[in-house]
Amino acid sequence: MTPGAALDQLVRRVSAQVRRRRVEHYALRGFFWASLPAVVLLALKGPLGPRAVLAAGALPLAGALLGAAWGALKQTSPADAARLADRAFGLEDRVATALEWAERPDRTPLVDTLVADATERVERLQPRQIVRRILPREAHFLPLPLVVALALTLAPALPLPSPRLPDFMGSSQEEEKDTRTGSGLLEERSKPEARERLRPPAFEEREFQARSGASTASTAGDLSAVFKDTSLSSQRPDFNSFLKRGDERLKLLEQVDRLPDLASDFTTSQYKMVFRKSKALAGGLRPDQISPQKLKELLEEMERLGRKGGNWSGEVGEGMEALEGGQTDRAMEAMQKALDKMRAQEEAQRSGKGLRGGRDSERGGASRDRRGGEGGGEGEDFGEGEGLLPGKGRSASPKGEASRRLSATPYDVGVEGESRRGRKDGYDTNMTGRGGPMASRLHYLGVIGQYRKLMEDAITREAVPRDYHSQIKDYFQALDER
């Protein structure tokens, strides 16, 4: 035997062992993965019949065969096999080095000695299995599908649910009709249903005119109101689709941030709705860039709203005429006038409503009655001369009566503000709400002395520029004079 032949034979032997292990390895993997659909087939043996059992038996075998074929086809490089042999027989990289260097043109004289040495050692080796078996991870879980498959084979066919569930909403057409008519002042623009289906349920395209009137029939917990502004409002509720979680309503409800705030007056104000639509329509465009079709639709909407007691029909008419004459800018002006009128009318209505009742009047009703109707309005809890300034007011208690103070919760105080442009940009804030006009509880004369002392300490200790000292002192002097 030539020196190289012994090494080649060893490499071939090791390669064959590797191939055998690969066949085992991939056959097990194939068997496992194919057994999973086999289990499914067995579960469906009721509807599929006895063929399912046959197919379930054949599937794992086919998977194992495919895996085995894959493992057999994978190639093992001679260098890998040689390294494996070196490690397994403790040959200290002799075989791998000899095989690699035997073919090299720059081989040194020592290589021949190395090949001879390696061959001699290889010939002395006893052939044995050197490639250990590595079970795939899948092999550990293999009993599971096998047991399930066995149980399914022996057990009677599983009762499966019928593919179509009964329609629990048989009379949904009538319900839908009732819901729509029951919404009182709510007016839905009738649209072809097919068109609605095509449109995505995007809130940007809400039809705001559908919320006519200051009051709506929406009540707390009435989720149907959520979908009123979407194309879903015209769809018939289908219980089956809810069960399958395929209903658009469910998907919409999951998008919490996109749900409208039913409590806000956004949905209750005609003006705001139309104003937003007009703003969205204009969108920073010049009048000649605005779509006449959309402008017309908006004007028509305003006209419809105006028929229910609005006084902006004239402006809307003007706008329509201008639009027909191709004067978009005039139409926009007319629309703006109509909007102004709408707002004025709404504000008038709101002030009237405030007089009639509401949360504030309900809460303050009892005390008003007790006091014989004196005072009223927003400032009634803090009547002039009462309460917080010592020595003032008619009450014996310098801070006012406890019950009335309690009713002025701090949550009734808000802050509003607006940015101020100038040499230095700033932000002016004012207290609002019932607590707004409350006088400060801090005793000015009591603290001004402390602040002056702190100021004097600060300008002596801190690195305040000398030029500023006099200005700071002048400022405190001016406060004293006040």
């Binding site: 590797v18 990289d93 001879a116």
Partner: protein, 337 residues
């Protein structure tokens, strides 16, 4: 002589030389092996250890067992470069004419013992640089070759830092191996006591000539290295670099600078000598693993975190080797690839 015969002769020479050294030095088998590996690989060796462990004695014994010239330089802070390289001096000839003549320093020897090298100033330390790298020195614009084989064995004390000048990285890199001389075991200590406190005189014989050493150096370079073993060596060296994409976490965390290409050369050359000394005609991965610490420990510079945590470079290198071994194809079963 056949190649097989050359290798057998080398193995015998190696063992004979080691046996001669072991006549004097008790224990330290691994240190002696590595010193011989450094010498046959054509490099220089730095011995680090506390005083009294026999570093100087080892080098002296080695030089006595070789038919080579030997000089010893005791490095001190006032040692000047000219003191070790040599200098031009004015001499008067028979005619009474005066001229400059180069007076060779102790560096002009085959085996140079630079004792306590870290006690000399950096200026003097750097005087060794050219000699160690180029095997020649330049004095007065004239380059003078050093005798071949030229072999520097330096020692340094790791604990006494007062009045020392730690070797700069550039100079450390020129040492093929850095060996740590450990304290002997109790049996070895007893043997040392017996051997050194009795009247028996040990005679060290000269067993190898300089020409033989040079011949073996040629033989060693013929030892083949398989591609996967070479890749393993370069993988280890690259894994000491924190900037390398596949560097292990320990390297990224504790290492500032990794080993230079000289480190890879040292690893392969040392592994070749080791393989041949064991009568093997090829380098194996085990040879590399055995030489990782002596070849790379002085080439890996720890960062602040590594210094602060007291990381041992040898331990770090062990982790790097494990990591590289696990990540290379060597560790993986070929049939699942």
């Amino acid at each position: 002589m056949t190649d097989d015969g050359r290798v057998r002769e080398f193995v015998t020479a190696f063992e004979t030389l080691r046996a001669e050294v072991e006549k004097v030095i008790v224990g330290h088998r691994e240190i002696i092996n590595h010193v011989l590996i450094g010498m046959f690989a054509g490099g220089h060796v730095l011995l680090e250890g506390v005083p009294g462990l026999g570093k100087t004695l080892l080098v002296k014994t080695l030089s006595e067992s070789l038919e080579l010239s030997f000089s010893r330089v005791q490095f001190t802070p006032d040692l000047m470069p000219a003191d070790i390289i040599g200098t031009n001096i004015i001499v008067e000839d028979a005619d009474g004419r005066k001229h400059f003549q180069f007076q060779q320093g102790p560096l002009f020897a085959h085996v140079v013992l630079a004792d306590e090298i870290n006690r000399a100033t950096p200026k003097t330390q750097s005087a060794l640089l050219e000699g160690m790298q180029e095997a020649s020195v330049t004095v007065g614009g004239v380059s003078r070759p050093l005798p071949a084989p030229f072999f520097v064995l330096a020692t340094q004390n790791p604990i006494e830092m007062e009045g020392t000048y730690p070797l700069p990285e550039a100079q450390l890199d020129r040492f093929l191996l850095k060996l740590r001389v450990r304290y002997p075991a109790i049996e070895e200590l007893n043997a040392i006591i017996d051997r050194t406190t009795q009247s028996r005189q040990v005679v060290v014989e000269r067993v190898m000539s300089g020409a033989k050493v040079l011949g073996y150096r040629e033989l060693i370079r013929e030892v083949p290295v398989a591609a996967h073993v070479r890749d393993f060596a370069s993988g280890i060296v690259m894994a000491t670099h924190p900037q390398w994409a596949d560097a292990p976490d320990v390297t990224r965390r504790f290492v500032r600078y990794g080993a230079s290409p000289r480190g890879a050369q040292a690893l392969i050359l040392g592994a070749k000598v080791r393989a041949l000394a064991e009568g093997r005609y090829n380098v194996s991965a085990d040879d590399l693993k055995a030489l990782v610490a002596p070849a790379l420990r002085h080439r890996v510079i720890l960062n602040f975190e590594g210094e602060a945590e007291g990381i041992d470079v040898d331990t770090l290198l062990g982790q790097i080797v494990d990591n590289v071994e696990a990540s290379t194809a060597q560790a993986r079963e070929p049939f699942v690839r």
